[in-house]
Symmetry: C2
Subunit: 231 residues, 2 copies
């Protein structure tokens, strides 16, 4: 996993630069190895995420095995086809152009899991909302994703899989829930527009479309944080 020739990436990007640069990567992996120190940094970034009751209910299973990756990819192909089958013909046409994973081309798979027993029996803050533990795992994933972007690595989240299949493939104990398979590694470049927008699957919404004031129905103009009002 080490590489002497690896060029250390710039960390001078601001948080906002990183957030805007981040993409869900499928086709741009170069396959070069990840420097071990950088891998540790992005894992530590994930591990420093907030978690309900300080439960830190995540685990990271680093998948280098070619055999595991091939088996996973075959499974994902089946699930891709199963999604394709629910689409109408127009959508099928668009979907055919969209690559959904870089499982073999990326340098490393990272499976992120959720352990509901971590910090039990009484997890502070999970008494009324049991899913809060899963929420914490996602916060860790976003930290990892941003840190990887800061290090000029790409990350692609694969979600075309059945949890039971992945759990069995990497021997997860009963109760440990896989949340994500992340494809991680150096990239040739990051696209400036998300793939699903580039291939006309869906457009990004404006911020105005998702902001409300005090009540769901209140989107009154005088309160609106609109592009018109600011800047």
């Amino acid at each position: 996993m080490t590489s002497d020739s690896y060029t250390f990436a710039k960390n001078s990007m601001s948080l906002y630069d990183i957030i805007n640069k981040r993409r869900d990567v499928r086709a741009q992996f170069s396959g070069e190895s990840i420097d071990t120190n950088i891998l540790k940094k992005i894992l530590q970034a994930a591990h420093s995420a907030p978690s309900v009751g300080l439960s830190q209910p995540w685990d990271f299973i680093l998948i280098e095995s070619e055999s595991i990756r091939k088996q996973f990819k075959e499974h994902v192909e089946i699930e891709r086809e199963s999604f394709n089958n629910v689409l109408d013909n127009d959508r099928k046409g668009i979907f055919a152009n969209i690559k959904i994973e870089g499982i073999l081309e990326s340098s490393l798979g990272i499976v992120v899991t959720y352990d509901p027993k971590r910090g039990s029996p009484a997890v502070l803050g999970r008494n009324t909302i049991d899913e809060a533990g899963i929420y914490s795992v996602c916060l860790a994933i976003e930290n990892l994703w941003l840190a990887a972007t800061a290090e000029n690595l790409g990350v692609g989240w694969v979600s075309f899989y059945k949890e039971e299949f992945l759990a069995e493939l990497i021997n997860l104990p009963n109760g440990i829930k896989p949340i994500a398979w992340l494809c991680v590694g150096p990239v040739t470049h990051l696209e400036t527009v998300p793939d699903l927008e580039r291939f006309k699957w869906r457009k990004r919404m404006s911020l105005d479309d998702v902001v409300h004031y005090d009540s769901w129905n209140n989107r009154s103009l005088e309160n609106k944080i609109s592009d018109e009002k600011l800047d």
Copy 2:
């Protein structure tokens, strides 16, 4: 929401500085107003998060209303008591010292919600894992949290509430699921150690405790990314 006297925060912190500085804030809110441009920046950061099928299934309801905040706080007090009741006496003693929310002291509440219909009927990547939409909302929350930290604001995630109560309080339509109530605002300072560790509720784990290789059971030393091996 604007304040002429607001001092613009430094954005020169690196991502790792921000990740390490970030805390779950309850007691340190100063109550000063949030500059509107900065509020827009942190919301835009959230809105720029990755989302399954580019569905962007989040909404942000900005809660300034004193009346709504008071009603929510009263509800949270009841849920706090209900959690307290499941604790043994030792834990009750520790929990008594822990403040769990800054609903009234913070400058703004931000309720973040999940809309499962966004991007439907066929959300790319949500065919086998329906919860992937909720995962996306959490990624947005972490972006918001980090951006707020970069702007010297504090964020505290309140999860001591029943979803139905909050949904009714702010008139969420059927099917829209509240994921978080975030307390947001300027702070006097951020603690360097998480509250739950400071008050001896729970200690943070080491990264080694959560890293595995190719299979859950493989934690062999020769592969281990340990503190001893690196640095």
